[in-house]
Symmetry: C2
Subunit: 366 residues, 2 copies
C-alpha cells in the first residue's frame, strides 16, 4: 500500500468562468457524477492508499473547502502551506511529514484535478510503479501519448528495467508540433503528467543531494509538524524556501544519475485542461452533447438544459438557470452566477485570453 | 394632428428568453438607447400626435408597467381591456372612445413594438396618410418591401388617388417564397404592417356596416367610458364581443368596396420579430457585433460584455452578469436572470420551438 499525496493548487484559467482563483477546478464536479475532481481523485486512490495514509497539500484559501468535500480525511492529513512555494516545497513537505510518521513509506503524488477513465488499470499501473519504487527508483507514471500534444512535457524512455518498468533518460520540455510528432512516432516517449511514486527516504536523499537548503528547511518543519511548535517553525522557515518545481529541482538531476524510471499509464488520463478536453472525456448524449455538472442536481427539479438540434456541445449549467441552445455545433456554453461564456470548442485554449483581459481591466470576476 | 392609438399586446415568442408573457417585448429597451420599444413609439409619434391625444390599449397584465414607462401619458388614455378580444375590439374601442371625445378626429394605429429608423420620413408619410384619411379613405401605411418576406401579409396596390396615395385593391395573406418574389418584382405590393390612419367616423361607419354586433357593443362601452358605469358595462359587454382581427373584420371588406388606400412607408421599418432582425436594425461595432440593452447601464459600472475575436453577434445582456464570447460568428446570446439562450442568427425564427417545448414541459420560464 502507498501513502497518497494530492497537491491541490492552480486555478485552471482555461476553465473560466467556472474555475476561479477563489474556486479552482479541483473543487468542481467535472467528473460526470456528483463528485468533484478532488473527491474523485481520493476515491480513485482508495485501492492503493488507506484514507489514513492519504494527504492533501494546499494553500490557506482552499483548506476549508477541501476539509468539507473530504469529510472522512483525517484533519492532520491536510497539510496547509502558508504561501505558495511551487511543487518541490509542496511535495517535499508531504514526503518529510510522511517520513516522520513512517520512514519506510512509499508515497505517490497525484494531481487533484485530473480524470482517469479506467480505474482498475490505474490501480494495476500503480502497483507496477510501487514495485519499481521499492527497489529504490524514483518512479514516474508516464502517459501513453494519444496524439502529438504540444502542451505537455515528455519523458524520454531508455532501457527496460523489469516488466513494464523502463528507465527515464531525460525530461523534455513542451515540444514543437514537429518534435512532438517525432516523439509519438518513435514510441520512446511518454507524457509527463507529474505523477510520481517513490520511497520517501530515496526522494529525501536525492533532495538533500540536489537541493540541500530546501531539504534542510523541510526536515526542520517536518520535525516540528506534529508538535506545539509547528506554526512558529513554519512561519520562520517556509518563506525562505526556494520556489522551484520538483521536476526541475530533483527529477531531471536524478534522471541524469540513472535513478528515474517509469511505467506507461494507459488508463484514459485527462488533465481537464479546458472545456473542449472535458467534453471529450465525459459521456455525452446521442449527438455528442455533454452536460457538465452535478448529475444529482441535473436529474432533480427543473431541467437545467434545453437542447434543440445541437451536436457536440459542452454545456456547463452552474447557476441554476436554464441553459437553452438551438442549432449549435461544437460550442461551449458555461453559465455561472456572475458570468456566462460562449466559445467554439476549437478555441477552448484561448479562454485564458479573456481572463487576461479581465485581469487588465481590474475586473473581479476572474 | 392625429389621435395616436398604440395597441400593446403580444409576447414576442421569438424573442424568448428576453420577452415573456409576463414581460413582453414592448416593455424592453430594444431600441439601441435606454428607451423601451413602447417609449420609442410614443416619442416617434410626438410630431403628429399630442400626448393628450395619444392612447395605449392593453390588457390588465401590463397596464401598470405601461403607466410607469410613460409617466406623462394621461391616465385616462390608457385603455385597459378586461380580456383579449383580438385587434378589432382593441382598435375599435379606441376609435369609439376617441369619437366620444372628438367626433371629427383622425386616428392612427401603430404597434407598440416596432422600430423606425428615419423618424422624419415617418412623420412625412403620416402627413400624406392623414391627407388621404381626411378625404374619407381608410388609409394603411404599407411598407416598401426590401426582400421577398414570407412572414408578412401584403397589400395589392391599384390606381393612384393623389400624390403618393394609391388604392388598395386587396389584402393578401402571407405568401409562398415564389409568390412573394413575384410580388416584390412587380412593384405593386407593399408589406402590411397593420398601420392604419382614418377618420374615426369613417371607420366606425364601416365597422357598423360589416360588424354590426361588434360596433353596437363598442358604442355602448364608449358611451359609458367616461362615466361612473364603465366597469359594469365593460364587464357585461366586453366578453360577448367577437374575437376577430381588424384586417379580416373591416379592412378586407372595405378594400373590396374601394374605401382603402395606402401610402408607401420607406422609413426603415422593422417589426423586431426576432433577435436576428434586431441585430440588423441596431448599430453595431466595427465587426458588426450588436449589444442590445439599456445603453445607460452598459456604459456605467462594470462592462457587461467581453468580446474577443467575434463578428456579427447579437448579445443581449439583461441579467447584470458578464456575457463573454470568444471566436463566435453570427450567433445570438441572450442572458436573463433565469435563462440563457445561444443560437445561430439564421435559426432565430426557431426560438419559438424552444418556447413550445418549455410550454409542453409545463416550465414556467416562458
Amino acid at each position: 500500500m502507498l501513502h497518497a499525496v494530492i497537491p491541490a493548487g492552480g486555478s485552471g484559467t482555461r476553465l473560466w468562468p467556472l474555475s476561479r482563483a477563489t474556486n479552482p477546478k479541483f473543487l468542481h464536479p467535472l467528473t460526470g457524477t456528483a463528485d468533484t475532481l478532488i473527491q474523485a481523485t481520493v476515491t480513485r486512490l482508495a485501492p492503493v492508499a488507506a484514507l489514513a495514509d492519504t494527504y492533501v497539500v494546499t494553500g490557506t484559501a482552499h483548506a476549508a473547502a477541501i476539509a468539507r468535500q473530504l469529510p472522512d480525511l483525517p484533519e492532520s492529513n491536510i497539510l496547509i502551506e502558508p504561501s505558495p512555494r511551487d511543487s518541490c516545497a509542496a511535495i517535499g513537505l508531504a514526503a518529510a511529514v510522511i517520513a516522520q510518521r513512517d520512514p519506510e513509506a512509499v508515497m505517490g503524488s497525484f494531481a487533484a484535478d485530473h480524470l482517469v477513465r479506467d480505474g482498475e488499470r490505474f490501480t494495476q499501473v500503480l502497483r507496477d510503479a510501487e514495485a519499481g519504487a521499492r527497489r529504490g527508483l524514483l518512479m514516474t507514471v508516464g502517459i501513453t501519448p494519444t496524439h502529438p500534444e504540444t502542451g505537455y512535457g515528455y519523458l524520454q524512455c531508455g532501457a527496460v528495467v523489469d516488466g513494464p518498468i523502463r528507465t527515464v533518460d531525460e525530461f523534455k520540455e513542451k515540444p514543437s508540433l514537429d518534435v512532438a510528432t517525432e516523439y509519438v512516432r518513435s514510441g520512446r516517449y511518454l507524457w509527463n503528467a507529474s505523477m510520481f511514486v517513490w520511497r520517501v527516504d530515496v526522494f529525501l536523499r536525492e533532495l538533500a543531494r540536489q537541493q540541500p537548503e530546501l531539504h534542510a528547511g523541510l526536515i526542520r518543519i517536518a520535525a516540528a509538524w506534529d508538535g506545539d511548535d509547528r506554526d512558529r517553525v513554519l512561519g520562520e522557515i517556509w518563506p525562505t524556501l526556494p520556489k522551484i518545481s520538483v521536476d526541475y529541482a530533483v527529477m531531471e538531476g536524478a534522471a541524469a544519475a540513472g535513478l528515474v524510471a517509469t511505467v506507461p499509464g494507459d488508463f484514459g488520463w485527462n488533465d481537464v485542461g479546458d472545456f473542449h478536453t472535458l467534453g471529450d472525456v465525459l459521456p455525452g448524449d446521442d449527438d455528442g452533447n455533454v452536460v457538465v455538472g452535478d448529475s444529482a442536481t441535473l436529474d432533480g427539479g427543473k431541467p437545467e438544459v434545453l437542447l434543440h438540434d445541437c451536436a457536440g456541445t459542452v454545456l456547463v449549467p452552474q447557476s441554476g438557470r436554464l441553459v437553452a441552445a438551438l442549432g449549435m455545433r461544437d460550442v461551449i456554453v458555461v453559465d455561472t452566477p456572475d458570468a456566462v461564456l460562449v466559445c467554439p470548442r476549437h478555441r477552448a485554449q484561448d479562454v485564458k485570453k479573456l481572463v487576461d483581459e479581465l485581469k487588465e481591466r481590474g475586473d473581479s470576476r476572474i
